[in-house]
Symmetry: C2
């Protein structure tokens, strides 16, 4: 610890830390109705064990959404569990894996815990630096897996361009690795135009190189813990065996409720409300950053939960100290260092998903104060 | 395949195979009401991420039930997921582990898949042969874990006696291994007197040698996928880290619904109904076995889902062939060989939990025919 820190216990905490929606933008009433509908219409399916493929009607819905036969789909207890199964299969000890730099901290941890040989590749504003990937491959690297968050990346908020999606696929085909398209945020785009999934670009049902993951955490709610994988049937079958051996079957009550919710009338309007709320929050955050932190650089995202802020290099910023000073002033952030194996001391992630609009400006004002206080100690 | 098999496609399948309740003994209406109550009373807790410890009020309820502080409890997506986390921690490659012979097939598979050195110890009608365990320990075996299903064991239906519970604990203390008390069936006892848990015998909150697992699959329903571990806080904390890294948090919607259900008025009567139905089914099964398979030996269980049947040795019974012949006659069983690393050719498991009372006698009649037909081929 470096010197005394001002504490203001009376201040209400404003959190830019957690990538989760505030409860006011979750359609609790709709979910409750969906649960009732699901128990009424399919009592045996909701209460029985089911199998590791997931709740059968939801699996079919997902297969139709992505234009693939059901054998390509496995529905899991949240998409992180899906990631974990895929990593168990492909990110074995010593296996080379490519990820973005920065990337989701739990992805890095999951890969490192399995003893994978992780290669981080620069993330640019239009996505992973594909020529850096190509150079690694030309240099002899033979990855089993490349992990990419194509839309509104966590932590940066950036989106992978169409040209780069195509180039990545080309590399995956040429060098025979699995491209893991980890896409939980895709359906909460609030501006700009959607881009095709790499799964589709690779032929959808004919795709041999893409494993696609997504989730209902962002469109329905996180506590329901429903995610899924779409990929080549042989690989999905192997992961299904892992899932059976781990938990027999995922949660049928939750998956049946999600299915009933998706079939119901409230879902489209509820999703629209989430997107509007996120658009409003990111607009306010953009404004507040320009007002209180004019020295910061960032790219305003077109969807998702996150915005990545960098302070000028060479000014001796120490994000650990900034985080501490911010906490003392009642504002929570996640330091950039959490999303990298090295570096990130002048960066941090701001999640706007859970911040009330009226708190955004005050939160950034406090953060600017914290940055000044941290710098004064340097 | 051995010779032609009679098929009767018009016959309705009677299944003694799956350890699951029939839907008619699940309180679907009560669960539906509980889901509504849970969404109404705790919308933020139900829909938010939560943490890997599980839904906080349910964790507290479980801690109170077992008389331990909450730090001893981890609520998971079903108890098999809890087993998997514990095995990841203690059944590492080469680690010696003791199990019962026969035991739950998925337990054996989970241990073998992890490369553990599995030692199966005879299961007697009053539970695992404790002096055989003692002999292994005296012979120098140093297990990290001994897995025991104390009540209405799967597949045998047997219950561990009090004297053996005490002796096992003594051995665990003396040799410093974890006694894994895997107890999903305890609350569906329909006759006889309950015995104290080894967790309690080891001092409950002060226990250092017991990790206890149970589930709501048998008392509420399987599709809700809620199980839990109770154990020493340091070990529970390690498993909590694994759970966080695997799925962030288990299902809050399911766990919140279970909690509301346990608090509601319908639970005690619903549990009573399950027990009465199981008692009726086991009574009919006992009767049918005596009538149609007088040569078979079995012990009528005092609770749970399963009954283990052995045919006389030395008569050349082949349970694989019996299973095929039974299937051809519209009756499903699980062969004894599934629950052992070797042997079991003259045994099979009958699950009575999912069989309608009116089908029990006919199912056993068909099974007796199948046994005759299989023997005729030998």
């Amino acid at each position: 610890m470096s010197g005394p820190v001002q504490t203001s216990p009376a201040t209400t905490m404003i959190s830019f830390a957690r990538g989760a929606p505030s409860t006011d933008i979750v359609d609790v009433e709709g979910l409750k109705q969906a649960a009732v509908t699901a128990f009424d219409t399919d009592p045996a399916g909701m209460t029985g064990y089911g199998t590791a493929v997931g709740y059968v009607p939801l699996r079919r819905w997902i297969a139709e959404k992505h234009g693939v036969p059901v054998e390509h789909v496995l529905v899991t207890n949240g998409s992180m569990q899906a990631d974990a199964f895929l990593f168990d299969e492909l990110a074995t000890p010593g296996a080379a894996v490519i990820t973005e730099r920065p990337t989701y901290d739990r992805t890095l941890l999951g890969l490192r815990n399995r003893g994978a040989d992780v290669h981080l590749v620069t993330l640019e504003e239009d996505g992973i630096a594909v020529e850096e990937v190509a150079a690694l491959l030309e240099g002899g690297l033979r990855p089993t897996l490349a992990h990419v968050i194509p839309n509104f990346q966590n932590p940066a908020g950036y989106t992978l361009s169409l040209a780069k999606r195509e180039r990545l696929l080309e590399l995956a085909r040429e060098h025979g690795f699995v491209l893991f398209e980890d896409d939980p945020y895709v359906d909460i785009r609030f501006s700009g135009e959607p881009l095709p999934r790499m799964l589709e670009l690779d032929g959808g049902a004919a795709s041999e190189h893409v494993v696609y993951a997504s989730s209902f955490s962002k469109t329905v709610c996180p506590g329901i813990r429903v995610g899924y994988l779409v990929g080549p049937p042989a690989l999905i079958k192997k992961i299904q065996v892992r899932a059976t051996n781990t938990y027999i079957a995922p949660n049928m009550v939750a998956q049946g409720t999600v299915y009933a919710y998706l079939q119901g009338e409230r879902f489209p309007a509820a999703l629209e409300r989430v997107k509007q709320a996120l658009a409003e929050r990111v607009g306010l955050l953009d404004q507040a950053l320009r007002a209180h932190l004019p020295q910061a650089t960032f790219r305003r995202p077109e969807g998702g939960y996150f915005l990545w802020v960098s302070l000028p290099e060479g000014e001796g910023h120490d994000v650990a100290r900034i985080t501490t000073e911010a906490a003392a002033r009642g504002v929570a952030i996640v330091p950039g260092t959490d999303f990298l194996l090295e570096g990130g001391e002048n960066s941090f992630r701001l999640a706007y998903s859970a911040v009330q609009p009226g708190d955004v400006d005050e939160g950034v004002r406090r953060l600017a104060e914290a940055i000044e206080a941290a710098r004064a100690q340097a």
